[in-house]
Chain length 234, copies 2
DNA sequence: CTATTAATCAAACAATCTTTAGAATACTCC
DNA sequence: GGAGTATTCTAAAGATTGTTTGATTAATAG
């Protein structure tokens, strides 16, 4: 094998990873799987695709070793092959956010009223959590909460929020978070809560970013911290 | 615009970035541009492609805002749009290295004798540079050295190494580096030097990784440090 | 064994991507 | 203006990708 053949094949291998991410549907699937492992049907429903098409895309991801599948009886559960896959997706997403004006434009258009919502970042939330001045609210679907959440966070999926307002404090600020910077659940929650007289604000990032930054994480209500928080793993 | 349309378009934008990287030739171009800005012809020659094809691929990268072009007289010089593009490429490459067995196999096959070469990492090189126990050798093409190199490194492109052996010290270890973990120039240099009685070893990473890690960098022989080194920007 | 459910496969088609060859453009030098 | 050079554009062929439809496989329950 000569040098040119070696290079071609090596870059070819790395290109298969990029190819796996080079499709909007597959990026959405990766984004969903970063929240929690899921079955094919669930993924198809969440992403608004047919099951057959979802299955085909999942297999592209699997061939690139970005996701793994596990059969349990009649269902097949997919999960990210390693947390590094989320890191890659986030690196891609953040670069796109900085470089592509169109992303800004889309956010401006669709999340026009987001500017009116108060927001805080991870560092500030972590500080305020420690002095107990805030209540934390996870508004993602329950299955995602169960796979891991910010310690002490209460799980109320956004669609059920209206029914559980009585459980929330009026005397403390409420910080709502969801899947990530482009997830709209937290926006909706903050808007609803504000309208009902709560003091609510949103976390600018989602749970996967919180976890990737090394902040403590809780699972199934039992403490499962990763030690002292360490900022900025990027 | 409804939520589904918003998501589709947002993921679609991010997919354009992944698509730009989803081709072996374009990855090689990004890798080359991470070393130094270059003209189309130079890139085509380095990557073993026709000029027309190189131009076409560069424009895919440009539309995705990963590279920028600047016309200077009759030539057009391309460069990475931001250093973050290298970060994305490295994240992709490192994930591929960890996940794809085929990468390992290719390296084993083509760089079979690499195991016999002594190697050190960035941290250790930085330490040894400070106590003056090593000479550092940049074996990349001169244009790449001129765009930035490890402070105090001597530039001898690997093809000219044999002619300049007299300039190298026999009483100190020589650390050779080149473009990155899969670049073969440093391997060749270390092999040649060892055969001629020098004590030579290779740096496991290349210059772009050194720079991205926050270690000091020098340009055109004049000091241009970035302050104290800070490890691990990943 | 049969029926049921979840997931995958196979075939087909449209759409997109890659490459080449040759033409066209943009600039410089004379 | 004309010649020469670097780059880009155009057109066309060939390969790859994405999606749907309907069939098929794998496991479970009765």
């Amino acid at each position: 094998m000569d040098k040119r053949a070696f290079k071609d094949r090596l870059y070819g291998e790395f290109a298969t990873v990029a190819k796996a991410l080079a499709n909007p549907h597959r990026l959405e699937l990766v984004d969903l799987l970063a929240q929690a492992p899921r079955r094919v049907e669930e993924l198809a429903a969440e992403a608004g695709m047919t099951v057959a098409n979802t299955s085909a895309h999942l297999q592209v991801l699997r061939r690139a070793r970005l996701v793994e599948a596990e059969r349990e009886g009649v269902t097949v559960t997919y999960r990210l092959a390693t947390p590094d896959v989320f890191t890659l997706w986030r690196t891609l997403r953040d670069l796109g956010t900085r470089q592509l004006a169109e992303v800004d434009r889309l956010v401006e258009t669709f999340l026009a009223d987001r500017d009116g919502l108060e927001a805080i970042d991870q560092e500030e939330l972590h500080r305020r959590m420690q002095d107990g001045s805030v209540a934390v609210l996870d508004v993602r679907p329950a299955v995602e909460y169960e796979q891991g959440h910010i310690p002490g966070a209460r799980s109320i999926p956004v669609d059920e929020l209206e029914r559980h307002l009585a459980d929330l404090p009026k005397d403390r600020e409420i910080v709502a978070y969801c899947r990530g910077p482009y997830c709209v659940y937290a926006d909706r929650a903050v808007r609803l809560l504000s309208a009902r007289g709560f003091r609510a604000l949103r976390l600018v990032d989602g749970f996967p970013e919180w976890q990737a930054a090394g902040y403590p994480v809780e699972r199934h209500g039992s403490a499962a911290n990763r030690g002292t928080p360490q900022r900025s793993t990027t």
